[in-house]
Amino acid sequence: MSGTTNEPLLRVRDLRKHFPIRKGFFQSEVGRVKAVDGVTFDLAEGECFGLVGESGSGKTTVGRLILRALDPTSGGIQFRVGRQWHDVAAAGPEQLKSLRRPMQMIFQDPYASLNPRMTVFDLVGEPLLLHGMKNRAERADRVRELLNQVGLDPRHLQRYPHAFSGGQRQRIGIARALALNPSLIVADEAVSALDVSVQAQVLNLLRDLQEKRRLTYLFIAHDLSVVRHISDRVGVMYVGQLVELTEVDRIYRRPRHPYTEALLSAVPVPDPRLRKQRVVLRGETADPSNPPPGCPFHPRCPYAEERCGKEIPQWREVEPGHFARCHFADTLELSSQPGGPVRNHSPVSA
């Protein structure tokens, strides 16, 4: 719970990203995919904020918007460097280059995110080179130091990515992200492509680094058990919108949105004797280019009532520090049991 009281490092206000759908010879716009549709949250300095949701919910897009790998359609992104607030959403190319120094990204796919034609030295050293460290020997020293920090053999400087395993490659990606001493790291499904055992190693590495360097993480994932392990607060996304946001323990104690309940019940439990009563959602994720009227979740929601199909629920603070987007957030008694509401499960502090 460390970070929530600190001063914010990042403020995201009503962030939107709409992708136009173009068709035909003249590429005229026939519709819009609302990948991110009004997302608002703060990141406190030193916290780890987990952003979860199924594929297509827009969580990756949020991460990319914050780093301006994509340009937002509208909305505000403010980032604090020292005491100075910067408007990331409106930054021009020059300002963006300096702003990307304290904000870095760890990618999901350790195979696609490392250029196969470059050695570890070139990969990890590139941000250093581009931000003014022209001296090769100096750069090599720094890269060795970074490799050491992420648990790689610093002698492997001249190796190419093909010589490393998935976990090792992800460590190279982490070293690259750390090269410029950032304060914010967007980890986009940083462990999803790895084996479970390797996942744990990389997660522990990320936590150690956070403690040592006072890093702030935006940790994007689809696996709630991973998020619980590393996050202080969690935001749940559904079809481009946040549906619930609170501290990690609270969400595991009493979720306030039916979608969160369904996500929690889908967490696999490594116990073969357990009879599962999962909350199985009907139907498909809503189409972000054509979301249903009212609450976007209502066609799949087991608790939906007539009102849900007509009225769009407001984003509101159900109790202090606990936000949800549901008409019945106050009254619903939702379960937080992985594998379904079966046995008593005491939440473990993450």
């Binding site: 696609a112 490392l114 250029n115 190796r159 190419y160």
Partner: protein, 366 residues
């Protein structure tokens, strides 16, 4: 870091990995050597050819190929030799007929002095790789209607045909890369226009398009100008395929994580393009260029054969084949078709090399 082979591999660059893999592809390696030999012929054709381009001996018109022998009635000889040819007219058909003169045994000598020439048009010399002593002549692939040595002409033609392929592919490369990169990088309406243009060019039937373009070359041009004109014609038609490949690659690679990562590290668009995107498909470009070369050579041959490409006195394989257009001449003098063998061998060799490169270029293929 001991120099163990395994560690060598892990620090090997993409090009080294490619070379290692290419070497395992036996047919490609052999074909590669063959291609090198052919370019060797092209480079040193004055020296390798037993006769110069000016050589003609009208008394030896349509002489058949002479056979290199080691065995005569005297027994086995260590040095290869040919028998002289005695030509006379058939009293009935008035055709020139040649018979071997078993008395005249000419030993083939190497590095023999012969007709003087200028190597690459510059260095004066008179040594030839092989030839006969004195005035006797050797025609290993026979002669044509004017008594010119086929083998020498093919060697000279190799120079023209193979370099026209190289220069043409070079031009294709520049056109395809630039236009394709523009198309892929800027996308939007620029991309749309370029792609429609490519479709139009691709939908023209090749031969009539070549013919139209070749007919536009002024007849007053010197052979060198015509030569360059033809390469331009060939590459104007053939850049489209490469442009599409480059566009597709750039479109997909632009969205790759490593391109995003580079941007986030502070790299500008130019650095992303040339340091990250281009190197990751340069091997593919090389492969498609290798596979484009034989097409280029075939196109030149076809154009010249139709009389639309290079014209005598320039010698190319296609020009040589003009003589083979006459069915009657061909029936009685089949050796006029020998340039075809060179064309086929060259095209096959390039295709094998291209296949080998393609397999080697993909580091993750099995």
């Amino acid at each position: 870091m001991a120099a163990k082979p395994k560690q060598d591999l892990s620090t090997a660059s993409q090009w080294r990995l490619m070379a290692i893999k290419f070497r395992k592809h036996r047919p490609a390696v052999w074909a590669g050597m063959l291609v090198l030999c052919l370019y060797g012929i092209a480079a040193f054709c004055e020296f390798l050819a037993p006769h110069t381009q000016q050589y003609r001996d009208i008394d030896k018109a349509y002489a058949p190929p002479q056979v290199v022998r080691f065995i005569s009635s005297d027994g086995i000889h260590l040095r290869p030799f040919v028998y002289g040819l005695e030509g006379f007219r058939d009293p009935q058909t008035h055709r020139k007929v040649y018979v071997e003169d078993r008395e005249a045994r000419h030993v083939i000598r190497f590095f023999v002095r012969g007709e003087p020439y200028r190597l690459w048009g510059v260095i004066p010399w008179d040594r030839h790789l092989f030839g006969l002593e004195g005035d006797a002549t050797v025609h290993l692939l026979g002669t044509d209607s004017l008594g010119r040595d086929m083998l020498s002409r093919i060697f000279y033609g190799t120079r023209i045909s193979l370099t026209i392929g190289l220069i043409g592919v070079g031009l294709t490369f520049v056109l395809g890369l630039v236009i394709g990169a523009i198309s892929g990088f800027f996308s939007g309406w620029v991309d749309n226009i370029i792609q429609r243009l490519i479709e139009v060019i691709m939908s023209f039937p090749n031969i009539p398009l070549w013919m139209a373009l070749a007919a536009a070359l002024p007849t007053t041009w010197t052979p060198l100008q015509v030569y360059l004109g033809i390469t331009v014609v060939l590459s104007l038609v053939s850049w489209t395929g490469l442009a599409r490949q480059v566009r597709g690659k750039i479109l997909s690679l632009r969205e790759e994580d490593f391109a995003t990562a580079a941007t986030l590290c502070g790299a500008g668009p130019a650095r992303v393009m040339f340091r990250h995107l281009l190197p990751s498909f340069s091997s593919h470009i090389i492969v498609s260029l290798t596979l484009a070369l034989p097409t280029m050579i075939l196109a030149e041959t076809a154009l010249s054969f139709l009389g639309l490409g290079l014209r005598p006195p320039v010698t190319s394989w296609g020009v040589l084949l003009i003589e083979a257009q006459n069915v009657q001449a061909l029936a009685s003098h089949p050796w006029l078709l020998s340039p075809v063998v060179f064309v086929v061998i060259t095209v096959l060799a390039f295709n094998f090399v291209g296949d080998g490169l393609r397999d080697a270029a993909d580091p993750y293929s099995k």
